[in-house]
Symmetry: D4
Subunit: 253 residues, 8 copies
Amino acid sequence: MNDIRKMLEGIRDGSVSVDDALLELKKKPFEDIGFAKVDLHRRLRQGASEVIYGAGKTPEQISGILDSMVRNGQERVLITRLSQEAAASISSRHPLDYHEDARIGIAGGMPEPDGIGTIVVATGGTSDIPVAEEAALTAEVMGNKVTRLYDVGVSGLHRTLSHLDQIMSATVVIAIAGMEGALASVLGGLTDAPVIAVPTSVGYGASFSGLAALLSMLNSCASGVSVVNIDNGFGAGYLASMINHIARKDGER
Amino acid sequence: MNDIRKMLEGIRDGSVSVDDALLELKKKPFEDIGFAKVDLHRRLRQGASEVIYGAGKTPEQISGILDSMVRNGQERVLITRLSQEAAASISSRHPLDYHEDARIGIAGGMPEPDGIGTIVVATGGTSDIPVAEEAALTAEVMGNKVTRLYDVGVSGLHRTLSHLDQIMSATVVIAIAGMEGALASVLGGLTDAPVIAVPTSVGYGASFSGLAALLSMLNSCASGVSVVNIDNGFGAGYLASMINHIARKDGER
Amino acid sequence: MNDIRKMLEGIRDGSVSVDDALLELKKKPFEDIGFAKVDLHRRLRQGASEVIYGAGKTPEQISGILDSMVRNGQERVLITRLSQEAAASISSRHPLDYHEDARIGIAGGMPEPDGIGTIVVATGGTSDIPVAEEAALTAEVMGNKVTRLYDVGVSGLHRTLSHLDQIMSATVVIAIAGMEGALASVLGGLTDAPVIAVPTSVGYGASFSGLAALLSMLNSCASGVSVVNIDNGFGAGYLASMINHIARKDGER
Amino acid sequence: MNDIRKMLEGIRDGSVSVDDALLELKKKPFEDIGFAKVDLHRRLRQGASEVIYGAGKTPEQISGILDSMVRNGQERVLITRLSQEAAASISSRHPLDYHEDARIGIAGGMPEPDGIGTIVVATGGTSDIPVAEEAALTAEVMGNKVTRLYDVGVSGLHRTLSHLDQIMSATVVIAIAGMEGALASVLGGLTDAPVIAVPTSVGYGASFSGLAALLSMLNSCASGVSVVNIDNGFGAGYLASMINHIARKDGER
Amino acid sequence: MNDIRKMLEGIRDGSVSVDDALLELKKKPFEDIGFAKVDLHRRLRQGASEVIYGAGKTPEQISGILDSMVRNGQERVLITRLSQEAAASISSRHPLDYHEDARIGIAGGMPEPDGIGTIVVATGGTSDIPVAEEAALTAEVMGNKVTRLYDVGVSGLHRTLSHLDQIMSATVVIAIAGMEGALASVLGGLTDAPVIAVPTSVGYGASFSGLAALLSMLNSCASGVSVVNIDNGFGAGYLASMINHIARKDGER
Amino acid sequence: MNDIRKMLEGIRDGSVSVDDALLELKKKPFEDIGFAKVDLHRRLRQGASEVIYGAGKTPEQISGILDSMVRNGQERVLITRLSQEAAASISSRHPLDYHEDARIGIAGGMPEPDGIGTIVVATGGTSDIPVAEEAALTAEVMGNKVTRLYDVGVSGLHRTLSHLDQIMSATVVIAIAGMEGALASVLGGLTDAPVIAVPTSVGYGASFSGLAALLSMLNSCASGVSVVNIDNGFGAGYLASMINHIARKDGER
Amino acid sequence: MNDIRKMLEGIRDGSVSVDDALLELKKKPFEDIGFAKVDLHRRLRQGASEVIYGAGKTPEQISGILDSMVRNGQERVLITRLSQEAAASISSRHPLDYHEDARIGIAGGMPEPDGIGTIVVATGGTSDIPVAEEAALTAEVMGNKVTRLYDVGVSGLHRTLSHLDQIMSATVVIAIAGMEGALASVLGGLTDAPVIAVPTSVGYGASFSGLAALLSMLNSCASGVSVVNIDNGFGAGYLASMINHIARKDGER
Amino acid sequence: MNDIRKMLEGIRDGSVSVDDALLELKKKPFEDIGFAKVDLHRRLRQGASEVIYGAGKTPEQISGILDSMVRNGQERVLITRLSQEAAASISSRHPLDYHEDARIGIAGGMPEPDGIGTIVVATGGTSDIPVAEEAALTAEVMGNKVTRLYDVGVSGLHRTLSHLDQIMSATVVIAIAGMEGALASVLGGLTDAPVIAVPTSVGYGASFSGLAALLSMLNSCASGVSVVNIDNGFGAGYLASMINHIARKDGER
């Protein structure tokens, strides 16, 4: 409430007019009175990194938003669902690291990890890697250390188990799998970290574009497993970062 | 085709009239010409053991069928989906071993196992045991050695792995699980025996009465896994026995 | 690896025979080599509190398990899906706090909260309260401070917003709703804490026993939302506790 | 019934033959006896504006229908699902306002609004705008004042709430959203106007092409919400106009 | 925003301290900024009639709420989903008109209709009548004139058509049908009033508890049709009343 | 149209006034103008046999309808979905043949068959017999010769084939099966008569209450197969009778 | 059975050896013993017209089959699912009438109708016409008189009713509709002829590619309606012809 | 466990230090304790033939893997889901037999069959052949004798039955069918070999891309039928080979 106090003191001092103050209050009603904590908090946190959902936007539109963000002091911008063509076009105007698999572009480089521990991103097969990279890069750009364990599907359990230490010492595990989605249950049984399960649309026939994996993960017999939408790598990475920064947030208060 | 040959020779010899032969051919067309091999073969094989599907039949009806079977020389009869009340009623007239969990009654006792090897019947949880017992007893009554591995679900992988030897040396594995049904994939990855997956209706919410486990099992990333209907323990046991007796059948020919 | 070192030293010293050591290694193969960390860790943590899934067990069975747990030094036991009748029967032998709404029994009382912050358990309507209480009591018995915000569904947004401070200062938010399940998205937009969404089977017609809420929550436009199975209050409470204790776990290492 | 009376009087007077009258009655049975009110009424009302469903019609076909309508005195014609190419081709022969987002062409310009109040067309995200524009333009061409509130999805509640006055003073609200479709419930709780919910196919994975939003909206916990088909912007705009002109219709009688 | 302006002027004038202003802004955020209009408006309007959702409440609970409402000046209370037993119990304490078919209780009697016109409630069959009565009584208790057209299903079109005048002169039509739900389309083609379609769970086999009717109604080829949840008679009656009172509401402003 | 012609001639002749004619036209629009042919025709034809849908009606209601039908000269009445209790109660007042399996009561006895040929009613198993009897008795009461072929499911093809003559000489075949519903395809391949397929809800697990059989039958690779609703024996019998009487109907015209 | 009799007499007479007879019986078992009636009968009947399913066949393959059929005395061949390109290619070698809408090619011209009466093919909209033409042409090529009633959907009931005479006097009615599929019920209520309902994939959103129409038609409240697969115009036309030729078939026997 | 025993004895004897033993145990946990049998066993067995899943891999990637396999002594490699273009590209570097229908490439030629008996691969129609060839070639490359019975669908039962001997003498039957999938049940009733059912996505409308066939096969009334995923020819061929080699495997032990 410091900003409002200052404004009110400005009125008292004559340095701020009543009309200007009223306009300000009207313009940002939620921001000033408590509700806007939401937004305020978000802006502060997002000073570090912000997201553009690239799907359905032209390279020009994305460049425009990016320009505006950078001008407003945004250090770092994550662009998801970005085609290679769009990335090439944008790169000619802004320095951009493009990750083809994940279809992600990052402006402003990667921050130092500042989370509680490490996020493990595991996939059942190699076809799940694009979704996994979307999750991993999202987590990294939000300041997390990420360990990638790809192709550790349950039909070759020894591959999974050979990474036991990493799985058991993770702060958060992201389990990404299509087909029967059993990876989430197996990892959930091996770790006491929260497991974020991401069903992928990888598979055919009765996988019904990820439905089989989705239902499988929702019914996991392991405790501590929750599920995000099919192919939603970004959502998993974002949530994992939230969890991996909980202590820091607690410190804020 | 010996019977037909004899009949044809009878015509040639004059001992059989054309009309009688024609009638005979008309009366049992499939049996005589090759088609009835099906039935013949089945009858022969079923000298050993036969099945009564008990659901929807009164104890009187079941007793009647049982009587008739025994009178026709049936050594051993398996009655599935048999309620405790019906079993009690039938027991008063026929010696019957009743298995409450599996809701199975067996008349004539268990045969000596004569299959190729051992059938492993594994379940994800304790709630899957009734389906598992239906499978196991069906297999046993058909002459198979059965190893039961119950409650070895994937969320406690150490339990599964502690039975590695049995899983790896099985001739056929029956994997029975509700919820996310991941057991089939895990076992399929641990053994090179055929895995018959039985989804169960155990679970709640988005398990949709076994649909989640069914889809999961159909999409198994492990090779060598096939699926039977939800809760179909009998079908799995029957099929496992078929597979476990293939060599014997081959010898028959 | 200290236990193994001791055992190996015992062999060297002659105080442990090779056969005994071998048996021990064979008996607990996964436990000793690293894999069993899973189990070990679980037992340690579960020294504080353990769970019995009450559904499908007789009061006698539950009492038996409870006895055994208490004898083995278990301080506190949570029994879920426990009917009032079973609770009454068990209570006659063990002191038990029974929570009728949540169908939960707790032996050993509540621990002091030792999590990072507060878990908010919010419901869309009053009919969602049983699931919410299952979540809240699970979280409490695992050592979490819980704030209950019931009946704050989105069709009366002012009710939701009047709890803005609690929602925004939570470490974890559990959003429980049937019907259209919009609560998860609204709460997800108001807080930067992880939101665990629990669809409930509350509703009728095209709610299809929670499917509508489930799909709605999986498609939440808010970041930081993940979903557990329909009516799975226990799972949500357990996962929330995991997240709310992440710092402590980090300290362990 | 005036026409029939005249015809009957014509028979009486001898100016109409019985056969001619019979033929007339047979030819237009429904029209003359009361049923045809439907059609008559429709034609009268449609003097103001008529609709051509453009999908699956060639530019030539559309031009032909448009010609015929204009020749028959149609002031204004709305063409929905019209591609840009078709619009360009038609424009060369008829003056046509083409709206690319909504894929709508309008011949004859916009009428003055003559409804009871204002129709609010709100969307959850920017991807829902094409459906919203179809709804808004349909409503405008039918004589309604429309307020557009785009991208006010529930995960950023402050955006929604900043338009509270417009939402609360609307005569009808059209809530258009994909993904979890929570907008309909939130708006339904903020206004006492009827809310027409339009699920859109925007989303991915478990949105199942709009099914998640559809089920969500059908299960809205807010009263006064009804639902039209997925992506059916035209239907929503048409229905909203019906409701917004109810008083006028009442005056007609 | 007048109150805030006054307060700000008070600061400028020195009659209000900055601290007091700050406290005031913090204390009543929603009320002061406009948001609380929602609740205020609702409370005013609901002076006339209020609803208790009876399902899952004991007669005692319902009586308690009813008492409290009446004490607070509520003229008239509608209780939905009320069993006959509960109604009998409540009746002993409050005068109550109970409608068994609709499972609705009404305290305070029916008001005079004050809507724009007449609401037609039509059903496809006699089994749909309970849902229809819920809709009709809800509309009546909210001050609407209702015409009931029951059992006018489309397989006997002459029955439907014999009520053409009533259908065509309605202000709002509620079309209630199970099975194939075609009634909504047929009525939608016969009237230019808004049609609120209510699928019912009446039917068997592939009606899938109302899903067939629901999909059918959502896909109506008639314009002006929208759909509420399966069996949601209350929702349809409530919405119809909203529409039928639009002119009055407009006058309010 | 003869009545109308007479009336019009009456106007011409002066024996009928214009006002009277107008009133007459207005009063009975459908009957007089051609539409009511529907009803008239139906009434005439239904002189022979009429149907009461017994589900959800009290024995008193059924008796009342039956009384009224008989008083109006109805020779024969079919009551479907009639419980044994209701049948007993009705029997005390009306002579009634009750068929317990089919839950059908018939008043007035069976007519002589007068159809073109024979209707074969075949079932896959014994559990489908209640649906089959509903079909068979419906067909018989409408004047058809029926051949019952029960338990001829495709897994024992020799049973099916042993009835080849009857199947091939049928005028219409009704194929009734649950589980995988393959009977319809097999019979469709064996006969050139129309096959009416009736999926039944017999089965378990992934039969999803008849959905598997329904989809199977809709996708039949045999030509000449059409499908009615799950368990709809009455509908199949009724339609089969329609087809088996087509020649007679043709003669009527 | 004449051939077999002759052979048996040959054995008796010594003109046929037992081995030759046995070989003959073994070689053509089904044909000789009664089963082959199926095939024989089919071949006889199909002397008049035969069908080639064109989808997935090259023009060369179709031409080859056509050649072979014509050489074997086939008068008339119907080719379904035939693309315009394939038709053009085939036409260069065989005279072929190609119907673009229906994607049907006919070699050998149309036969004189020889069915019992007239088949009405009705559609709900203009988009259903391709399916309708497939049905109509199939029926015509099989010797039926067909009346086309297109675009008589139930939302404009006057259009439907203006064809009442044709609908009521049909021998068979084919009702083809997408979207809500109500046409089948409406026509079923207007005629006492069998109604073959064909759901089409016309529609969008919640029509789910014809599922809405399919379910609607299966749940028709009108008696005498049965359903074929989505878009299966050929199946409907073929079945209608079967029904419309029943008398002739009866005469054959 | 011999290695561990030796090591433990070494400790006792002083020839192995505790630290070295500890390191050894830590380094190769799975191999030493028994778990690694899995991998070892697999590697040994896969000396004969290995599989590359070609979908989503570039020709370069496939060539690379192939190179590496051959260099490591792999005799024979099966590449599934291989496009013609990729095959052509690979062929220029490695000798490769490409099967266009099955989209399978085989390097190293076919082995001599060494299974127990013959595998029958049967299809319902010609469109199922690509899936069938995938199954048949997979089985052949794994050392099985395969009999192909294509286009023996149940609507022409005589075709099926004309292959009765082959069906009855098979060791394993693979039944491949789309549409209604009845083939599995019919074959299951004709043979006592295990039947592996493969639903295909062949069909249209309500086949829902193979769902109808899948459900049909899961509900087969024949015993001994299990199901793999839609279009999963490889899985069926692989499983059939497993079963057909069971005796050999048994001998191995």
